[in-house]
Subunit: 137 residues, 6 copies
C-alpha cells in the first residue's frame, strides 16, 4: 500500500531504512512502556530456532509481511532472509505464494521486494569486492 515504488527513492534506500528503523526503535524502547518493550522482545524471539529453525521462520515472516502489504516489514525480512542464505530463486518462489494468496493487490509490493533483493545483492557484491579491513594496515 506504499507508493514508494515510484522512483522517488533516495540514493541509499536500504541505508536510509536501516538508520530510520534503528533510530525510531531506540526512541520507542526509550519511552519505557513495559508492554511495548516486551512486545518488541517477543517479536525478536519469534524468529529464533525452535520447533522450526529460524531460517524457515524468516521466510514465514516474509510471506506474512507481503500478503499484509507492509513494505518496511518486507524489507526487514528480506534482509534477514538473504543473510540466512536464501537464493533469489527461493525468495521468488516464496513471493509467488504471497502473490497467489494475496492477489494482484500484492503486485506493487512484489515490485518493491524485487528491487530490495537487487539492492541487497549489490551490497553483497560490494562487500565481497571490498571486504572490511581490506587494504588496512
Amino acid at each position: 500500500m506504499s507508493s514508494k515504488g515510484t522512483g522517488a527513492y533516495s540514493q541509499d534506500r536500504l541505508g536510509d531504512f536501516r538508520a530510520y528503523r534503528e533510530r525510531m526503535n531506540e526512541r520507542i524502547l526509550g519511552a519505557g512502556h513495559l508492554g511495548i518493550n516486551r512486545f518488541f522482545n517477543l517479536d525478536t524471539v519469534a524468529y529464533y530456532d525452535g520447533a522450526l529453525d529460524g531460517k524457515t521462520k524468516e521466510l514465514l515472516g516474509l510471506v506474512a509481511s507481503t500478503v499484509l502489504r507492509c513494505d518496511d516489514c518486507v524489507d526487514y525480512h528480506l534482509i534477514q532472509c538473504t543473510e540466512a542464505g536464501y537464493s533469489d530463486e527461493e525468495l521468488t518462489d516464496a513471493l509467488n505464494v504471497a502473490l497467489v494468496v494475496g492477489g494482484s493487490i500484492v503486485i506493487p509490493h512484489l515490485r518493491h521486494a524485487m528491487e530490495t533483493i537487487d539492492l541487497l545483492r549489490a551490497e553483497e557484491r560490494a562487500a565481497a569486492d571490498d571486504p572490511p579491513g581490506a587494504g588496512a594496515r
Copy 2:
C-alpha cells in the same frame, strides 16, 4: 473473522468442510469461466515442489491464511500440512509467527486452528486403528 469458533459445530466439522469445498469448487469450475479456472490451477501449482519444496510452501500458505484471518484457508492448509508430516510443535511454532505478526486479532483463528489440528489428529488415530480394508475379506 469467523464466529464459528463458538461451539456450534456440526458433529463432523472437517467432513462438512471437505464436502462443501469439493461441491462448490465443482460448481465454480463448471461455470466455465476461463480466468477463474486458470486461477484455481495456478493456486494448486503454487504449492508444488519448485525452488522451495512443497512442504515448506504449505507452511507459508498456513501462515499467510492465518494472518489474513481466513478459517477455511487455515483448515485447508492444516490438512495439507499434517499430510506433509509436520508435527504439532512445528505447526504451533508457525502459528506463533502468525500471532506475533498479526496480533491479538488472530487469536480467534488460533483457537480455530488448534481445534482443527486436534480433529485431524483424531482422524489419523481413527484411521490407524481401523485402516481401510481392515477386516475385509
Copy 3:
C-alpha cells in the same frame, strides 16, 4: 472470512439472512444515534442513479464486498444485482475480477457467492412457477 460455507446452513439461508438483517437494522436505527442513522442513509443513496446508473454501482458494491471478504455484504449485493437483471455470466465475470485482485484468500467467499447465486435463481424459479396471487380469487 466466514466459515459458514461448510454445509451448516439452515434450511433457508437467504430467508434467515433477510430476517436477521431487517430485525437488527431496525434495532440499530431505533437506537436513535444521529450519526449512525445518517450513515445508513448515505449507504442507501450511494447506489441510486447518479453520474453512474444504479445497476453499475451495485456491481461495484459486489466486487468491493468480495475483495473485503464480507459474506453478508456479498449476499446483500447479489440480491440487488440479480434484481437489477445481471446474468450469471456477468456476475461470474465480476467475481473473477475480485478473485484476481484479492487472490486465493477470496476463494471461500467465491464459493459462498456462487451458492447464493444458485439460491437466488431457485427463488426466482419458484416465484415464476407460483406467482403471488396465483390461484387467488
Copy 4:
C-alpha cells in the same frame, strides 16, 4: 466477516462463546509454547490501568476489534465494556466512530455487536432478578 449473524445462533450464544473461548485458550496455553503464552499475557496486561485507565482501554479494544471486523473480539470487549460500566449510549457512540472509520463493510459487525449488547443486558437483568445465592439457606 462472519456470517453467523443470520439467525443460526444456538440458544445461548454468549454462553457458547465463553465456554469455547475458555476451553480452547486452555488448550493453547497447555501446548506450552513460550512465545504464545507470553503473548496471551501481554494481551491481558494491555488493558490494565496504566497511563490510561483500563476502562478507557477496553473501549479502544472494542473499536479496534470492530474496524478489523472480528466478531469474537467484539464480543469479548463488549463483555468487558459492560462490566466496566459503559451505558448503551456510550457503546453506540463508540461503534459510530468504528462505522465512520471502517465504512459500510462494518455494518454486519455492528448488527452482531448490537445483538451482543442486548444479550448482555438480558443477562444483567436475569442476574438482578435472581442473584446468586438468592433463596439459598
Copy 5:
C-alpha cells in the same frame, strides 16, 4: 496506507510511476518464475471484454483498489479508466461507492485519486495542444 499524499511528489509523479512500474515488471517477468508470469497474464486478461465489457471491469478494478487502499493500483486503474472514456463525474461517483464501503480510512486514497485524475486530465490537455507529430516535417 501510503503517505505519499504529503506534497513530496517529484515533478512528474505519473511519469515516475509509469517508468518504475514498467522497469520492475520487466525485472519480475525476467526472473522466469512460471507461476508469477502466468499470474501477470491472468491479471491482464481479467480486464478484457467478456460477459462484461472491459470498460466496466476497469471501474470494478478501480473500486476494488480503492477499498483495499493501494495507491499504485488506484493510479493504474485511473489511467485505464480515463483512456476508456470515463468522465470526472463518473469516476467521482465510483469513488463515492468506495468511500461509503471502505469508510474514512479511504479518504487519504481519495485525495491521491483526485490528484491523479487532475494530473491525467492535464496530460490529456497537453497532448491535445501539442499532438504527437505536430509541427513535424
Copy 6:
C-alpha cells in the same frame, strides 16, 4: 503500509501534510458530489461531544487508524489528540493497545506515530517560545 518512514521526509513533514490535506479536501468538496460531501461532514461530526466526549473519541480514532495502518489518518488524529491535551504517556499507552491488537505489522506505523508526536511537541515548544504576535507592534 507506508514506506515513508525511511528518512526521506521533507524539512517540514507536518506542514506538508496539513497543506496537502487542506488543498485536496477543498478539491474533493469542490467536485460537488453530495454523497462525498455528506460523508466528510459525518466524519467531522463523529468526533464531537456526544454520549462520549470528543477527547475520548479522538483516541478511538487514533487506535482505529493505527490498527488499520493508515499513516495519514494517524497523523491527523495525533494532531487532534495533542490539541485535546493527551500526554505522551497516554498516547503511548493507547498505541500499545493498537500494537497488541494489530501485531508487529503495526510497528512501522508505531515508528511513524512516535516521530509525529515528537514533531508536534517541537511545534508546541516553538509556539511557546515565540507566541503569535510576540514582538509585534
